[in-house]
């Protein structure tokens, strides 16, 4: 049987030592398969961000194993992790994290530079990715010239450009109003459904998590809930934006 895309086996992550020891994750088992759209929820300090960092190969478990397609990433070197991020993962952050004074297109090209693509090919791929998130014609704009929603789209385009297996979205709508949030979440749903990209999204808002097809809730470093959900929003009718998230949940 094909191994799951991501598998946590009894993963603990402990910060500090002795008295100051903080158990951010405490023996977590989790399996995420290809094509899932998982929302990870929990109050701050529950371990959801740590989980995200470990999935994103930015952090390593203190004990236990995190397997990416059956490979334990805990044993990989820093450079190997960088390559893994480069070829399989795409990040979308709450604060967008675009390079300032750098055009949308250049931002999207950034991961492709590290992939070693020639300039012409990069430009083509970046334009395509921007088109996929509905930003045709904005290639030359600086982040400062774009709205929050547009900036987040650029960030998604940047994640997409690298052709990732997984997109990791850390509070992707935390800085956006509900209308823009809906647009972004619908876009993520669309990518998940139409292109089969696995999406793992961290949020602390239930109405945001409701866009996913699976909900994992963390409390004090442990998983306290893990269930399939029926996604709301534009999952069935992606483009119309009929229901805002707030209405959908209430």
């Amino acid at each position: 049987m094909e191994p799951p895309l991501i598998e946590f086996r009894n993963v603990s992550r402990i910060y500090g030592e002795g008295e100051a020891e903080v158990r951010a994750l405490d023996g977590v088992d989790l399996i995420i398969r290809r094509g899932e759209f998982v929302a990870i929820m929990g109050p701050s300090g529950s371990g959801k961000s740590t989980t995200m960092n470990i999935i994103g190969c930015l952090d390593r478990p203190t004990s236990g194993a995190c397997l990416f397609e059956g490979t334990d990433v805990g044993g990989l070197s820093g450079d190997a992790l960088a390559l893994l991020r480069r070829h399989y993962l795409g990040f979308v952050f709450q604060g967008f994290n675009l390079l300032a004074r750098t055009t949308a297109q250049e931002n999207v090209e950034l991961p492709l530079i590290y992939k070693g693509l020639p300039a012409a090919e990069r430009a083509r791929a970046a334009k395509l990715a921007l088109a996929r998130v509905g930003l045709e014609g904005r290639e030359g704009h600086d982040p400062s010239q774009l709205s929050g929603g547009q900036q987040q789209r650029v960030a998604i385009a940047r994640a997409l450009a690298g052709n990732p297996t997984v997109i990791l979205a850390d509070e992707p709508t935390g800085n956006l109003d509900s209308h823009r949030s809906h647009e972004i979440l619908t876009l993520l749903q669309q990518l998940n459904r139409d292109e089969g990209i696995t999406i793992v999204m961290v949020t602390h808002e239930a109405d945001i998590a409701a866009y996913a097809r699976r909900l994992v809730v963390f409390t004090d470093g442990r998983i306290t809930r893990d269930e399939a959900t029926t996604p709301v929003g534009g999952a069935t009718t992606p483009a119309d934006g009929a229901a805002t998230p707030a209405e959908a949940v209430s």
Partner: protein, 401 residues
């Protein structure tokens, strides 16, 4: 990847022009100073060898006293006289002999006056000392011997006394004697030591001896060797003759010395190179300071761009690539400083060359070395900040505000 990194570095340098300029200023000044020093130094040593070869390497100078600056034995400073010069000109090895005596004077023409140096010599002096006439004529042998009241003016004296006016044929007063200007010298400019070579009047030696100095002494004798005679042979011949004439017994030290121009040139050049070496090392210190400036700004830049580094690491840059990026940026900055510095240094040397009347002698090797050195400065001082950037924890970096 490197090409990409250079492009990236250039972009980030251009993004903050003022700061980049201030950053490279240290390197610009350092490289500029080194280049200027070395180029001026080489120009002046080139000038020395030019003026020496103008005199001919077959030139000997005979002076009284022992060589060096040590204590002189008794009678060591006995002067020469014109009979010595005559005897020297009998030598097969000597082509031209110019006895020289000098005196400090004030020259007067109308109501202008100039204090200057009179050089008393004979008709051979102009050729031996490498002067050419701009106008008029040289003195004749008979005029030199007879002490005719004629004079030849250096360019500085001519300008002081006559300005733009015609000097040939005019009578000027030199101390108490009146003499007629028969020739004007072509300007030579400043010597390697910066003194004005054109500030002189040349007169027949007998006139200077009798009327100005009131003696029959000759300070030094300049000798141009006949063709085919080596300096060693020439020096030996002059020494033999002078020991004989001065009745120096076997085993006794010479009470005169003979030097050739090559020696003089060597001395000038060694003084030159010591000076420019010293100045260059001072300039090199400023290059070091420039490097520290680059390190400082790169450290600031790493802190400022922590978030950017976090983003790059998250989207798949290896720490090696981040290291390369910052290292390349430091090197590009430093090279930029080097290039600007080379330009500034060459311009300074060129300007100084005009001002000090020495040739402009840029050395491609030195330019290349300065370029290489600024690259080294970039690598050395860029490495530490770059390593700091590469070692950032991506999670921390992304959280950085």
């Amino acid at each position: 990847m490197i090409l990409e990194a250079v492009r990236l570095a250039l972009r980030s340098i251009l993004r903050n022009k003022l700061r980049s300029f201030l950053t490279i200023l240290g390197v610009v000044i350092g490289v500029g100073a080194v280049i200027a020093m070395v180029t001026v130094g080489q120009g002046s040593s080139q000038q020395v060898s030019q003026s020496v070869s103008g005199l001919g390497s077959d030139m000997l100078v005979l002076r009284p006293g022992q060589r060096g600056f040590g204590p002189q034995t008794s009678g060591g400073n006995r002067r020469f006289n014109l009979r010595d010069a005559d005897a020297l000109s009998e030598l097969r090895e000597a082509r031209l002999v110019a006895p020289v005596t000098s005196s400090s004077v004030t020259a007067v023409y109308g109501n202008t006056n100039a204090s200057t140096q009179v050089t008393g010599s004979n008709e051979a002096f102009l050729e031996v000392a490498g002067w050419t006439l701009a106008d008029g004529r040289n003195m004749t042998a008979a005029e030199a011997r007879g002490g005719a009241a004629y004079c030849i003016l250096g360019d500085t004296v001519r300008q002081k006394l006559f300005g733009g006016g015609d000097a040939i044929g005019e009578q000027i007063r030199v101390k108490q004697i009146s003499c007629q200007v028969i020739g004007l010298l072509q300007a030579k400019g400043a010597s390697s030591f910066g003194n004005d070579q054109d500030d002189l009047i040349i007169m027949p030696i007998r006139l200077v001896q009798r009327r100005l100095n009131g003696d029959g002494d000759v300070n030094s004798i300049q000798i141009a060797l006949a063709s085919g005679v080596t300096t060693t042979e020439g020096i030996a011949a002059v020494q033999d003759l002078m020991r004989d004439r001065r009745r120096i017994g076997l085993g006794q030290e010479d009470n005169f010395n003979v030097s050739d121009m090559r020696e003089v040139a060597d001395m000038l050049n060694s003084v030159n190179s010591v000076l420019s070496g010293m100045l260059s090392s001072v300039a090199a210190v400023s290059l070091l300071v420039g490097g520290i400036g680059i390190m400082n700004i790169m450290l600031v830049s790493v802190t400022e761009r922590t978030r950017e580094i976090g983003i790059r690491l998250a989207i798949g840059a290896t720490s090696g690539q981040v290291l390369t990026q910052f290292l390349v940026e430091a090197v590009v900055l430093s090279l930029l400083g080097g290039v600007v510095g080379i330009g500034v240094g060459l311009a300074l040397a060129w300007g100084a060359g005009i001002f000090m009347a020495i040739p402009f002698a840029p050395d491609p090797l030195v330019v290349l070395m300065a370029f290489g050195f600024s690259a080294v400065v970039g690598v050395v001082f860029g490495y530490f900040p770059a390593r700091r950037a590469a070692r950032l924890d991506p999670i921390e970096a992304l959280r950085h505000q």
